[in-house]
Assembly symmetry: none
Homo-oligomer: 202 residues x 4
Amino acid sequence: MTVIDLEKSEPRRRKPDSLERLKASARKLFVERGYDATRPQDIAREAGLGHGTFYLHYPDKRACFLAFVEDARAELDAHVRANRAQDGSLEQVIASTLNAIYDYSDSHPGVLNAAMTDESVIDAEGVQATPLLTRWGQEWAEMVRHAAADGRACNSYDAEIIGQAIVGALHQTGREASGAARCRGALVDNLTRFLVRALKPD
Amino acid sequence: MTVIDLEKSEPRRRKPDSLERLKASARKLFVERGYDATRPQDIAREAGLGHGTFYLHYPDKRACFLAFVEDARAELDAHVRANRAQDGSLEQVIASTLNAIYDYSDSHPGVLNAAMTDESVIDAEGVQATPLLTRWGQEWAEMVRHAAADGRACNSYDAEIIGQAIVGALHQTGREASGAARCRGALVDNLTRFLVRALKPD
Amino acid sequence: MTVIDLEKSEPRRRKPDSLERLKASARKLFVERGYDATRPQDIAREAGLGHGTFYLHYPDKRACFLAFVEDARAELDAHVRANRAQDGSLEQVIASTLNAIYDYSDSHPGVLNAAMTDESVIDAEGVQATPLLTRWGQEWAEMVRHAAADGRACNSYDAEIIGQAIVGALHQTGREASGAARCRGALVDNLTRFLVRALKPD
Amino acid sequence: MTVIDLEKSEPRRRKPDSLERLKASARKLFVERGYDATRPQDIAREAGLGHGTFYLHYPDKRACFLAFVEDARAELDAHVRANRAQDGSLEQVIASTLNAIYDYSDSHPGVLNAAMTDESVIDAEGVQATPLLTRWGQEWAEMVRHAAADGRACNSYDAEIIGQAIVGALHQTGREASGAARCRGALVDNLTRFLVRALKPD
DNA sequence: GATGAATGAGCGTTCATTCAT
DNA sequence: CATGAATGAACGCTCATTCAT
């Protein structure tokens, strides 16, 4: 039985893994130190690369951060889609979604926080597509509309507003919970009950 | 009877108000440009003072910003306390509080947003006392506890968590509303109904 | 008898012209962007080659530029030698030479300008063989000597000085003419009369 | 009789001579090393100042260079105006002007050369007002027109073209003369005769 | 108290060149 | 011959803070 040498078996050249290494280092440092305190040079050094290499893969620091954000978003998105109860009762949907988010958050500590860094920090001018939180708010709005259409939720709300409210509530409770030593069970329980009562049809 | 011209009386050069002038300039610039893009020098110049004078009144830029934040907090606090229905129905309390907040926000555009600048922006290391949002969350928690004790609100919640959730919901809806062109009436109406349903006793 | 298709014969990959391709690309870019703004990488890419290939043909960027300059010089030289009246009257010689120079300049726009890039731009330390302008001045000096020996020109001048003066006059009038919209006819006419009067024997 | 203490007698503060020191250092370094090889930091260091101080006086390196050029231009201009024969014969005007230029050039070695650094070196984009050489060409054009109007010079020339030709001739002979060890007397003599013959009326 | 000239650590970014493949 | 990922010295510039006046 042969063991394939993962390090050297690539047919062509040395495996150009430098982008992967930069991505990992960027995530690590953006999470640990934040955007401002992380220099492109630090990211490259952490990845064991010269700092010119950073600019082979990203046009500038901002682009690197935005790529990190997008990766985190996609990861969380995949995780949540895979783990939430798509069409159960309102309570099941909410509880399973919250649990999925907290699962991701627990196994990737600090990542969501770092990814939600305010856009104003990233670039004084220019425009970030849509802030992460707002995008997620739109997804919650979709969920609200969906549930209202099915009769599982009150249909007299403006779904956009309520979607943003939900995501804001999650964000702030999460933020505060990481400061205080708050247990996840209580968080999910309280928020689920809160949201279910607020949303359920009369 | 003579009225002393406070603006122009030559003998006492109109100076002792330099802290006030710095405060006003700092608020103006932090709101217009944000923390990073505002230099102590700009604040002093805007106030018609020399750069060094800034450091006579604040040990550093961070302290100046924190003072601005505290002033905004106190102002909003006073405004809300003066204008909300202290002990009416849950709905009255919530609606009047929201309206008071939006009143302040409308008459001091940009101030709350600037004051909520993420702490990570203000200083890479050090620690900001308690983030503004978290403090406001604690006040909402107090309201929740108070209402629950009176039987006006469901008493099975962890008030701290719900307080943070409420303030998070307000923050994010406000933020998003200023981007989209969302009308205040709909915001207050939706949020009030949402919170009242979530909080009211079974 | 078979003629090998140099353009497309697959077996021998159409490579040995890489130096030619680099030369053409280098000229194009040095003319369009100037020395500083042209990177070896750009030249190679423009030629459809890898970056490293550049260094197979030139030791460094400077050498590539110097080769471009030399090619331009040789081209102009050949063109002028082929087109000027070698031994006519002073006026004929001068007028035909000026016309030949302008012909070349018109059909290779920007090339002479780029080739005359100041030596200080090319390398802070090292020494360029002899600046192009000075070499051309020496050729004009030769012409002056020649004409003086034949009695067609005043022989009391230091030919070296006058040669440099002539080439300087041509350069600066050409430079200024491309900025202002000055017509070539007037340029040749004025310069020819100017030089003929200055040079003709008493 | 009192001797005023030039170092300390200023009524207000320490004499803010830092701009003068920067100017002197900038001139020295631009002359010795050229534009590209001179860093703002070097200029400041040479002046005994921190490198931030450079940016107190100039918005950027380019502005510093342009100020150097303008100073050199004004100095030469003043020197030439003070020393040339304004209205003598054509020969007197030309000879005295050339001598004045060479006087300046001898007593400020390298300055004119440095000041004439090609505009393309200073900024890839942007536009320098008018290149120094072209401006001087315009002044010679004025001289030519003036002399032609007085009957001291041939009036069938386009003065603009001839003015540029003259300044080009001076520039290139000067440039080449500093390379070769050419004596100033021969330069002035040859150029004066050359220009006088070219310009004088038939 | 008030001033503003002076400071220099620190930033993000570029590009000529090398060398393992 | 050819490649292009990798390098790191070097650059122009900013800005919070100090201190002699």
